[in-house]
Structures are given as structure tokens and as C-alpha cells.
């Protein structure tokens, strides 16, 4: 018997390669935010 996975509704799918869930997208965006702040803190340290 072939077992089909439950169909994901259109809005539940991110449609982004590498991101199956929206939670993953949010973690990625959070990571980018931390990266920006880290780089700006580094710039401040280097040139102050």
C-alpha cells in the first residue's frame, strides 16, 4: 500500500528551496538580523 504524505495547503508551503516550514524562514531571517548587528558592532569596534 502506497502511503501518501498529507498535502500541504498553498499558504502553508513556503515555496522556497531549502525551507519546508515558515518557522525555518523566520529562524533564517533572525540569523540574518544577528549577522547584521554583529557586523555593525564590529565596524564600530574597528573604527572608534
Amino acid at each position: 500500500m502506497v502511503h501518501h504524505p498529507p498535502e500541504i495547503p498553498d499558504d502553508a508551503s513556503t515555496g522556497l528551496p531549502g525551507f519546508r516550514t515558515w518557522r525555518g524562514v523566520y529562524w533564517f531571517v533572525l540569523g540574518v538580523f544577528v549577522l547584521w548587528v554583529g557586523l555593525l558592532a564590529l565596524l564600530t569596534k574597528l573604527y572608534s
Partner: protein, 572 residues
């Protein structure tokens, strides 16, 4: 500006507006006029959300902030990505599920009619006032560039935007914003590279950063816990998050942009696009301002960037004093330029001690430059008490007009106007739709035909345009323009956010408790604003916290409020 500049400016602006109106012609029912046809893709939504927030003030005033105070203002946007994640995950699905036209319609469905009206009224009040500032900013550009009277310029540009917005509706606003922000990016990036090319020969990009850093212009992150500091990482993350939650999540000018999405996915991706690119965009604009500062270390700037004010004072009895100050400024500038050149020579030679000594000399000369500028400002104010002594908003436009080639000047002036039109159109579109849906259709006339509401919406949009023009004409804008916009927002946004957070997360709190909590909290914020000197970003936190705590207390301790009320007119 010459004929080529005028051609570029008019061609870009009229071309985009005409294309937007032509592409979206025939959208005359209320749903498509106010909320768009719900076919918009994420990239357009992302750019439209960005364009609505990034007004002419962003591109005119922010480089001036970078020039004067450095990169610290970027911290103001640290809360935005966090807020946008919350909005995409929580707010957006609810708005879409309930199929609302405005964010305040949701308050009516969740609480009651009076809370809906209060939310709409607070939005209309603060956005109506803020809209005046977004007209005022490009008017400064035009009056400076063309030598026109400021009041005539405010009225002229304001009316132009009103006509454009009324003709377009929501879809046209979204579509034109996409092309307008495209022009903005091209213009600002081009200005950046031209600026780098205009720096003195032998001064590398690293040297330019060293000069900017030496004058404390690259201090982007401040970990200080001093509450008097306007921009720190704490005010940015916490206060900025509350401001962004409120602005992106409850301000109709933004909600209306992402409600046009073809699906929840498209709207979410549009918001995530902004969550990723908002901070680097603001950083880039501030860095541009910091590099303009570096440029003016090797090219003598005017002692006061608002040259019209300087010439007015010179012609009205202050000429002799201003000339003396010009000489002081010139001498200090020459000493500073010499010290910076010695500093760079020592830096290239790897002589740390000499570089440090030269930098100290440059900073001492900079103090004399600032002293001459301060004395000049006092002289200008004495000659004409109406003079605004903060000239940061004139820095970038002065650089553009004096140092960019023709054609590019036209493009940059088009950038300012594209930004002004795109944000103004979004604001007026939202003011018109909120007045129509939450006030007129809800309270005044409930069962008219769609065509009647579309006409009403056009009239309300026009009315708000005139109110904004009036505020721009009579408001006294003592502070930097972009700060003034954020201050007005922060005074009102916290309470509105409190309303929405109670609505989204605390189902047991009813409409009457929330309504009175919001009224008292708003009064409290206003009293605190006029009596304290803390960073304005904190008012977002205070207003929100006060509204939520009072809402809980009223609901818990006043028994007759415990019956949740349902707005019988919420569907209208």
C-alpha cells in the same frame, strides 16, 4: 539644474505615474480601489512596503543624520526584523482570514464599535500629522533647488500627490511604488559611487572610513544603558521593535500594502524581504552621509548648509558678523584639512604615534569649526527668529547640486520626488480608506452602493491631502525631519499596539476595558512626553505596556465590564 536635469526629473516621475494609472484603469469597485485586486506578488509587496516607509525624508534627511551624528541612527531599525516576523506569523493570517479592509475593522470584530473607532481615530490623528511632514521634506528640496517660496512649493507638490493618489487607488499605488523604489535604488547607488570617485586622489575607501571613524561617524552600535541616549542597541531592539510592530502591524498605510497579496505566502515573503533588507538599506544611506562628511573634509563646505537662510541674514544686518565667522571657519577648516592630510600620510607610513597626534589636531580644529558654526547659527537666529538652526536636512541636497554632474542631479531630484510620491500615496490611500470604511460606512451611511463609497473615498483622500498640506504649512519643525516623523509616531503608536496585542493574544479582555485603558494610556503618554526627556522610542514601550496593564486591571476589577461585547456593525 539645467534643461537635461528637468527632462530627467519630469520624464521619470510623470512616466511612472502615467504607467501606473494606465495599467490599473477601470478599478472602480470598493474592494479593488481600496485593497487592490489581490493579485500582487511578494516582490511587489516587499518593494511597496519599503517604498511606503522610505519617504523623501529618508533620502533627504538620513544622509544629513549620517553627516552630523554618524551611523547611530541605524539602531532605530534593529527592532524591525523581529517585529516583521511576529506580524508575518500572527497578525497577517488573522487579517487575511477575517478578510478585512482595514486593521481597525479587526478591532471592531474582536472588541466593539467604539474601540474600532478609537483605533481608527488614533491612526488618522498621528498619520494625518505625519503626512504633513512628508510633504514638507520634498518642498524644502524644491524651494532650495528652484528658489521658489516654501509655502507655494508645499501647496504645489501636495496637490500633485493628491491628484495622483485619488486617480490611482491601491493597485496603482503598489505598482508605481515598485518602479519608484527602483529609481531610488539606482539614484542612491550611483550617488554613492560618484561620491567615492570625487574623494581626493590617494584616499582609499579604507582611508575614508578611517577619517569618518576618527570623527566618531562610524559608531553604529552603542551598548550604553543611559536612558537619555536617543539611540542605543536597547532602545533600538526594544523600543524599535514596538515602533515597528505598531507601524507595520497596525498602521493602515502598511497593512493596506500587504493585504493586496495574491496569497498569505506572497504577503509573508513581502514582509520577510523587508525584515532582511531594512537594516542594510538604512545603513547604506547613513554611510552615504558619513562619506559626504569625509568629502567635505577636503572640499570646503558652506559654514551653514541652508544658504538661503545665511544670505537672508547677511542682507538683513548680520553681514559683518557673518563675514567674521566665515573667516574663523575658513581658518579652522584649513588647519583641519592640513591635520587630516598629515594623519593620512602617517597612516600610510604606519607611524601610529604621528597618526594619533595628527588625528588629535584634526579633532581640535573640528571643535573650532563647530564653534564657528554654532556662532553662525546664533547670528542667523538673532537676525530671523524663524530660522531653523538645524541644517542637516540641507547637507545631501547641497552636495548633489554642487558636486554631481548634470543629468545625475535630475535623477537624484527625481529620487526625492519618487520617494515623496510613493510614501505620500500610500499614506493618503490609507487615510482615505480608513475614513471611508471605519468612519463613514460604519457610522454615517451603511448601505450605499460600491460606487458611492469609491467616490466618498476619493473625497476623503482629497480632504486628508489638504489637511496634510495645512499641517506642513503651519508646523514648526525644529528637529531633524525624520526624527519629527518618528516622534509623532512613537507618541501614538504604543497605545495602538497595546490595543492590538490585547486583541490578538488575550481573548478574555473585552472592548470597554480596552477602550478606557487606551484613553487613559494615551493621556499618560502625552503627559510624560511633555515632562520627561527620555528617548522617544521608549514611549512605544510605555504606551503599549500601560494600555495592556490597564486593560487587564479594568477587566479584572470592574465586574460590569466582564461581559465581552460584540460589534453588531463589525461586518460593515
Amino acid at each position: 539644474m539645467n534643461a537635461l536635469d528637468y527632462l530627467v526629473t519630469l520624464g521619470v516621475l510623470v512616466g511612472i505615474a502615467a504607467y501606473g494609472i494606465w495599467r490599473t484603469r477601470g478599478h472602480q469597485n470598493l474592494r479593488t480601489y481600496l485593497r487592490g485586486s489581490r493579485e500582487t506578488k511578494w516582490f511587489t509587496i516587499g518593494l511597496s512596503v519599503m517604498a511606503t516607509q522610505a519617504s523623501a525624508i529618508t533620502f533627504l534627511s538620513t544622509p544629513g543624520q549620517g553627516y552630523e551624528s554618524g551611523l547611530g541612527f541605524v539602531q532605530n531599525y534593529f527592532g524591525a526584523p523581529l517585529a516583521l516576523i511576529v506580524i508575518a506569523a500572527v497578525f497577517l493570517p488573522i487579517y487575511r482570514k477575517l478578510n478585512v479592509y482595514t486593521a481597525y475593522e479587526y478591532l471592531g470584530k474582536r472588541f466593539d464599535s467604539k474601540t474600532r473607532l478609537l483605533g481608527a481615530a488614533l491612526f488618522l490623528l498621528q498619520r494625518g500629522l505625519g503626512a504633513g511632514i512628508t510633504i514638507y521634506a520634498p518642498a524644502i528640496v524644491l524651494s532650495t533647488v528652484m528658489g521658489w517660496r516654501l509655502d507655494v512649493t508645499i501647496i504645489g507638490t501636495g496637490l500633485l500627490v493628491v491628484i495622483y493618489t485619488v486617480a490611482g487607488g491601491s493597485d496603482a499605488v503598489n505598482l508605481t511604488q515598485k518602479y519608484q523604489i527602483g529609481v531610488i535604488f539606482v539614484g542612491m547607488v550611483t550617488a554613492f559611487f560618484v561620491l567615492l570617485a570625487r574623494l581626493p586622489a590617494g584616499l582609499s575607501f579604507g582611508d575614508a572610513l578611517a577619517v569618518a571613524g576618527g570623527f566618531h561617524k562610524l559608531e553604529a552600535v552603542d551598548f550604553s544603558l543611559n536612558p537619555d541616549r536617543r539611540y542605543t542597541i536597547w532602545t533600538g531592539v526594544l523600543g524599535g521593535m514596538f515602533l515597528a510592530l505598531s507601524y507595520f502591524g497596525t498602521d493602515q498605510s502598511q497593512v493596506q500594502r500587504y493585504l493586496t497579496g495574491a496569497s498569505l505566502r506572497e504577503s509573508r515573503l513581502g514582509l520577510m524581504f523587508n525584515a532582511i533588507f531594512k537594516i542594510p538599506m538604512q545603513f547604506f544611506i547613513l554611510l552615504l552621509g558619513a562619506l559626504v562628511f569625509v568629502f567635505y573634509q577636503f572640499e570646503r563646505p558652506p559654514v551653514f548648509f541652508n544658504q538661503a537662510a545665511w544670505h537672508y541674514a547677511a542682507d538683513h544686518g548680520a553681514g559683518e558678523r557673518l563675514q567674521v565667522l566665515e573667516h574663523d571657519f575658513e581658518a579652522a577648516f584649513t588647519d583641519k584639512e592640513r591635520a587630516i592630510q598629515a594623519w593620512m600620510t602617517a597612516r600610510h607610513a604606519g607611524d601610529v604615534a604621528a597618526a594619533s597626534a595628527s588625528r588629535t589636531a584634526a579633532l581640535a580644529a573640528q571643535a573650532r569649526v563647530e564653534a564657528a558654526r554654532t556662532a553662525t547659527k546664533e547670528t542667523l537666529r538673532a537676525a530671523d527668529p524663524r530660522t531653523t538652526v538645524n541644517d542637516a536636512d540641507y547637507v545631501f541636497i547641497t552636495f548633489i547640486l554642487d558636486h554631481l554632474p548634470h543629468g545625475l542631479i535630475g535623477l537624484l531630484v527625481a529620487v526625492f520626488f519618487a520617494a515623496a510620491f510613493s510614501s505620500k500615496a500610500g499614506e493618503l490611500n490609507a487615510l482615505g480608506s480608513t475614513t471611508t470604511v471605519d468612519i463613514y460606512r460604519h457610522v454615517v451611511k451603511r448601505d450605499a452602493a460600491d460606487a458611492h463609497y469609491v467616490t466618498a473615498s476619493k473625497w476623503f483622500t482629497t480632504l486628508w491631502g489638504l489637511v496634510a498640506i495645512g499641517f506642513a504649512l503651519f508646523a514648526s519643525l525644529a528637529e531633524n525631519l525624520i526624527q519629527a516623523t518618528n516622534i509623532i509616531g512613537s507618541v501614538f503608536y504604543g497605545v495602538v499596539l497595546g490595543l492590538f496585542l490585547l486583541a490578538f493574544f488575550f481573548k478574555r479582555v473585552g472592548g470597554t476595558a480596552v477602550f478606557w485603558a487606551a484613553i487613559v494610556s494615551q493621556a499618560l503618554v502625552l503627559v510624560l512626553y511633555f515632562s520627561l526627556s527620555i528617548s522617544y522610542l521608549w514611549y512605544n514601550v510605555i504606551g503599549c505596556a500601560a494600555c495592556m496593564i490597564l486593560g487587564f486591571l479594568l477587566q479584572a476589577f470592574l465586574p460590569k465590564l466582564n461581559q465581552p461585547q460584540i460589534d453588531s456593525n463589525a461586518h460593515r
